[in-house]
């Protein structure tokens, strides 16, 4: 079985983010890391392989990422966790691509790989649109099992079963392979790369491809190919300084008075 995991390099979710004058995310303003939510997808892929006989049984995990040169660092992190290989789609024409062109580029790369199972996180912590997996499902005409809090793969039968966890409840879902599965945060506890894993990752292959390899024209991607545009942006006005009191036994009552003044109660 061939598992493909889509990952993205994002600014650290514990850091402040801002837009550049070019109206796109200023990626230099914060440390770039592997998207937190993708780590759960990489970990789940490793667990699926381990539960089904491991690498010896012929199962492989390939990471796929689109991004600038330094996105290779995020791929190395996934490789050091235990993935076998990575594909890095990098092309200067891709800068400022919207979700539609990103999903198109990823879909073309996935078609070349023909995986049995595609795993993704629920969203990237930078754009937070959460639409790429559904777009891939449409483009690849492949079933999408979203918000999986539990994944079971039956390799022999070519099936995947998940528990879909949302605010409405828990749904048991089932589909034939190939399929796309989006895993939720906390489906597992992503492992820390071991020293051995980090060393091994240095020797694992990262295949670099450009949009020409995928038969996509530069006009269809990047800011020129985007189907939505930013008119303008501004920093939100800072919140005015509020009231701050030190509790000397009656701050709870003062809090209630404040809520009354605000007509909340």
């Amino acid at each position: 079985m061939k598992i493909l995991v889509c990952v993205k390099q994002v600014p650290d979710s514990w850091a402040e983010k801002k837009l550049s004058p070019g109206k796109v995310l200023d990626r230099e303003s914060a440390d770039a890391v592997l998207n937190d939510l993708d780590e759960y997808a990489v970990e789940e892929a490793l667990r699926i392989v381990e539960a089904n006989g491991g690498v010896e049984a012929g199962h492989t995990i390939t990471l796929l990422s689109m991004g600038p040169e330094r996105a290779q660092d995020a791929l190395r992190k996934g490789l050091s966790m235990g993935a076998d290989a990575a594909i890095h789609i990098s092309d200067s024409a891709l800068a400022a691509s919207d979700a539609l062109s990103t999903s198109r580029v990823l879909a073309e790369a996935i078609k070349r790989e023909q995986p049995d199972l595609i795993l993704t996180g629920t969203e990237s912590t930078d754009a937070r649109m959460s639409v790429i997996p559904s777009m891939l499902s449409e483009r690849l005409e492949m079933p999408h099992l979203s918000f999986a809090g539990e994944v079971r793969v039956d390799v022999g039968a070519g099936k995947v079963a998940t528990k879909r966890m949302t605010d409405e409840g828990v749904e048991s879902m089932e589909s034939s392979l190939p399929a796309i599965v989006t895993v939720i945060e906390k489906i597992n506890e992503p492992r820390y790369p071991s020293f051995k894993g980090i060393m091994a990752a240095k020797k694992k292959p990262i295949t670099q491809i450009g949009i020409a390899d995928l038969g996509i024209s530069a006009n269809d991607v990047g800011s020129g190919g985007a189907w939505s545009e930013v008119n303008d942006f501004a920093l939100a006005p800072a919140r005015g300084a509020g009231i701050k009191v030190v509790d000397e036994g009656s701050a709870g009552n003062a809090l209630v008075e404040f809520l009354v003044e605000k007509r909340v109660i």
Partner: protein, 314 residues
């Protein structure tokens, strides 16, 4: 004016609160056309609310099976309808389900998409509050039928009673990934987090004891939230996590107890209208965004506030 197609989310005919908000918005930019997927019985239970909030037309994408698949069957039928009607725009709630359907429709209709808008003008210029509310972006779709998802609680629902014409379109759902069984969430008396007007949240400072948080929430009729530190520690379920990873909320009142206010958390609640903070550490960054901050022990301050609220409410 042009038709604004509004996706109406519902569970067994009980429509989500977002429906009234989206219909209110749709009326301000065009003709409000409610689109609901399910059975005729479900439509019957939903019609009153849709009329109350001024739907001018209602279309039922009729299928007994359509909701056995979370999004692909609905997206396909909805996209066909949008094409037939020559819609001016399509708006959906910015929820897990709304975004899944929106993403699929964008591909099907070759149309641009904007997610998490908090406002939309008649010229279809959207306002987004990004990076945890630190930046305001105005954007528009430049190709196809604009598809825009609207954040829950961003629009104040206003009633406009009327009587919509109803059309039913029979849909054959081609099911790819199927839902085999469903266990509905056990709903306590508390409101759902993303829809709640008031949220009381706890973090590391609770040390795992959420009882005072829940008691204050119940006194206020509020939902309970948690920081990532609290859910990572297993003190509260992940479904209650507010933040950069987790839910983005924008209630009228947000009370953060024992939460330091790392950007990870602020990114999910910074746009709340009023923010109240209780924290032992006077240097905690959460005080920077507080309208009312108490430097003190949450185990002393919140029970006193809970008692005060109960006394006032009688």
């Amino acid at each position: 004016m042009g038709e604004i197609l509004v996706f109406i989310d519902h569970v067994d005919g009980v429509v989500a609160k977002t429906a009234s908000e989206l219909l209110t918005l749709a009326r301000s930019i065009g003709e409000a056309h409610a689109v609901i997927a399910g059975t005729a019985t479900e439509l019957n239970s939903a019609t009153d609310v849709l009329n109350k909030f001024g739907a001018q037309k209602i279309t039922l994408l009729e299928s007994a099976e359509i909701n056995s698949h979370p999004s692909s069957a609905i997206a396909s039928a909805f996209a066909d309808l949008a094409k037939t009607k020559g819609a001016k725009a399509i708006i959906l709630p910015s929820t897990a389900r709304g975004k899944e359907i929106a993403g699929r429709m964008a591909v099907r209709l070759e149309s641009g998409i904007i997610t998490d808008a908090v406002a939309l003008t008649p010229e279809l210029v959207s306002t987004q509050s990004v990076f945890g509310g630190s930046t305001i972006v105005h954007a528009r779709v430049s190709k196809g039928i604009p598809i825009i998802t609207i954040r829950p609680n961003a629009i104040e629902a206003v009633e406009a009673p009327g009587s919509a014409s109803i059309e039913k379109i029979s849909v054959t759902a081609s099911i790819t990934a199927k839902i085999i069984s469903r266990e509905p969430a056990i709903r306590g008396a508390r409101p759902e987090l993303s829809e709640a007007n008031i949220i009381v949240s706890g973090g590391r400072g609770t040390d795992g004891n959420f009882a005072p948080i829940e008691e204050l929430a119940d006194a206020l009729g509020a939902a309970v939230g948690a920081s990532r530190a609290a859910t990572d520690a297993g003190w509260y379920p992940h479904s209650h996590q507010v933040g950069q990873t987790g839910k983005t909320v924008s209630p009228a009142l947000y009370i953060a107890c024992g939460i330091s206010g790392a950007i990870q958390h602020r990114a999910g609640m910074q746009t709340s209208k009023t923010i109240v903070v209780v924290n032992k550490d006077p240097e905690a960054p959460i005080f920077d965004i507080a309208d009312f901050g108490v430097v003190g022990d949450l185990f002393a301050v919140t029970p006193q506030a809970t008692a005060g609220i109960k006394a006032r409410k009688g």
